[in-house]
């Protein structure tokens, strides 16, 4: 396969994965106002669960140690990855979302993130510690008997279909009365509580769904690159996703998709082509974060709602029969 095409294919799969991540984050942060600074943890858990559910039992001579090793066929490991991430999201939610204050929530999630990162990175029996796990089988590859190049196209299609399904679902949720109640909680949790909304329950559901998305995204990544280790999900990755969402437009799933394209895909990839500086291989990754940071500040300064802001809600047309407005078609639809 042509190297450029192979590269673009890889970028496309990464983009699909980033989309799924930013949509989950959008439901939590953009729609429900939940500050989950441990978001990348759920991505990682999804990846590890998917990987170890797909891998066979850990062979003592392979040099890897990990739990599970169920050798389950696609898509079970992927779904399991999403579900376990969602369950962990609920667990964190019980601690982080019980109180009303968002600073409390932020502190709890940052701490949980650090704890989970340290446990996975240092406790080798779980997911092989810092070395991470590798050799995860490609989904359906042996079943389909495709050669490497054709399989790349197949995987892109598979990831694309999964992304599309997840997009339709998240759009439906965002624009439903459920999504409206989440938005109201973001705007003023006390007021929604005063209208009889069990705001804790709503936020827990948003937490679970968002973490499910993160988990599926992580699962897709490990199924694509067949390996995963802690260098792939440092706390900085959460920052990149928040930046993508804020720049693209929080509250708007299209904005999230635009942000995912601009920030992690285009800007971060572009920095790969910066000239290499001798004796400092950490400079470019650092510069990458600087670029994202500057982009974020510029957006917040000039277009705080993001490139594609949340749109006004649309409602069905209703004919109002009140005398004052008899002549008027109560056309509430908005652009």
């Amino acid at each position: 396969m042509d190297a450029t095409i192979a590269y673009l294919l890889t970028l496309a799969v990464y983009y699909f994965i980033f989309n799924i991540q930013t949509w989950g984050l959008n439901l939590q942060f953009g729609v429900a106002g939940i500050l989950n600074f441990a978001y990348i943890i759920f991505f990682a858990v999804g990846a590890y669960i998917t990987g170890t559910f797909a891998l066979p039992h850990a062979d003592p001579f392979s040099g890897q140690t990990y739990f599970f090793g169920f050798a389950l066929p696609f898509p079970i490991p992927l779904i399991a990855g999403g579900l376990v991430a969602a369950a962990l999201g609920l667990l964190v939610g019980v601690i982080a979302l019980k109180r009303l204050r968002s600073d409390y929530m932020a502190i709890v999630t940052v701490s949980v993130g650090a704890i989970v990162y340290d446990i996975i990175g240092n406790y080798f029996p779980l997911f092989n510690g810092q070395d991470g796990i590798s050799g995860v089988p490609f989904p359906l590859q042996t079943r389909l008997g495709l050669d490497y190049n054709t399989y790349q196209w197949f995987f892109m299609g598979l990831a694309g279909v999964i992304m599309l399904i997840l997009f339709l679902i998240i759009q439906r949720i965002t624009h439903s009365p459920f999504g409206r109640t989440l938005r109201s909680i973001r705007e003023d949790q006390d007021v929604s509580e005063a209208f009889g909304k069990d705001t804790f329950r709503y936020r827990m559901i948003a937490m679970a769904i968002g973490c499910f998305y993160a988990g599926v995204a992580g699962g897709l990544l490990i199924e694509y690159i067949s390996a995963f280790n802690p260098s792939g999900w440092t706390a900085g990755e959460t920052f990149v996703l928040f930046a993508a969402l804020i720049i693209g437009g929080r509250g708007n799933n299209w904005g999230a998709a635009l942000g995912a394209l601009l920030v992690p895909v285009i800007f971060q990839e572009a920095t790969r082509y910066l000239p290499q500086f001798p004796n400092s291989d950490t400079l470019v990754p650092a510069l990458r974060n600087v670029v994202v940071g500057v982009l974020l500040i510029v957006t917040l300064w000039f277009r705080p709602q993001g490139l594609l802001p949340e749109r006004k809600a649309k409602f069905p047309k209703v004919q109002l029969d009140a005398p004052e407005n008899k002549q008027e078609e109560a056309d509430v639809a908005l652009g």
């Binding site: 439906r172 009365p177 459920f178 109640t181 003023d188 006390d190 009889g196 559901i205 069905p316 407005n325």
Partner: protein, 270 residues
């Protein structure tokens, strides 16, 4: 139509029924070591408009927060509709039909005026994700009903033209109207209004007063905190005076005005 003309002094009718919908019994509430409410008791008759008055810092807003479950009930007893609110979360109390507003108006700023009104209706089928995905027709039908109800409400409160505007873009007075319209969308049995007319001009205050009187006609009970005694005189059948966290006096405005302790503690000879 000039609502202010209609809102001119009318004879104050006595409370229609005698059964209290809300009983506050010996409630004490402390912040740290300081009692903001101290052994306070009063009742609100079903179908009445009751005013809760008292000087700044008397504990009125704290009382609203305790009644509505925003602060846990520490001491004493509160019965709404015959049932204790002890241990209930704020949203559970609201689901029983006791809807409160806040002293400072709190709109859902980044949502439109119409969408603000679409939030409060209770137990919406579309708030359940199972229905959203598997019974979308039920959700669509309910949405249509709610939009109609919300537009009617906006029409009543003179906000129809603003329906597509962001709530944050409304003026202070319009936000007060929005708060009341929005609270009514929850179909309350009883409204707990914390200074619903704070900061509005006299004409709008009259209009809000008229709205509150209309509510009473529809069988709602209202407990409102209000500093303007003229308005209290005009719309409230019962008055509860709080000072230093406790009930100083209860009765009609006429009775309250002649109460010597009230005069010295609050009215200051007004």
């Amino acid at each position: 139509m000039s609502p202010s003309a209609e809102a001119q002094p009318q004879p104050v009718a006595p409370a229609t029924t005698t059964a209290p919908i809300l009983r506050v019994e010996h409630v004490t509430h402390a912040f740290g070591g300081v009692n903001a409410i101290n052994d306070c008791s009063f009742e609100v008759q079903t179908g009445s408009i009751t005013a809760l008055i008292g000087p700044n810092g008397a504990g009125k807003s704290t009382m609203v927060n305790v009644i509505s479950g925003f602060y846990p009930l520490q001491q004493g007893q509160i019965l709404f509709d015959g049932q204790s609110v002890r241990g209930l979360a704020a949203h559970s109390i609201a689901q029983r039909g006791l809807i409160r507003t806040f002293q400072i108006s709190r709109d859902y700023g980044a949502m439109t005026v119409l969408e603000n009104l679409m939030v409060p209706p209770k137990h919406q089928v579309g708030e359940n994700l199972f229905n959203v995905f598997f019974r979308p027709w039920l959700v669509a039908r309910e949405e249509k009903e709610l939009v109609r109800k919300a537009l009617d409400m906006l029409n009543t409160f003179g906000l129809y033209e603003k329906r597509e505007d962001y709530a944050r873009s409304l003026s202070g007075g319009q936000k007060r109207l929005l708060e009341m319209a929005r609270a009514l969308m929850a179909d309350p049995k009883m409204l707990l209004l914390d200074e619903p007319m704070a900061g509005v001009n006299p004409a709008l205050a009259d209009r809000l007063a008229q709205h509150i009187m209309d509510l009473r006609g529809k069988g709602l009970t209202v407990l409102m905190i209000e500093h303007n005694l003229g308005i209290v005189d005009q719309i409230a059948q019962d008055v509860v005076v709080m000072a230093n966290g406790t009930t100083l006096a209860r009765g009609t405005m006429v009775e309250i005005r002649s109460h010597p302790e009230v005069i010295s503690a609050y009215l200051g000879g007004a």
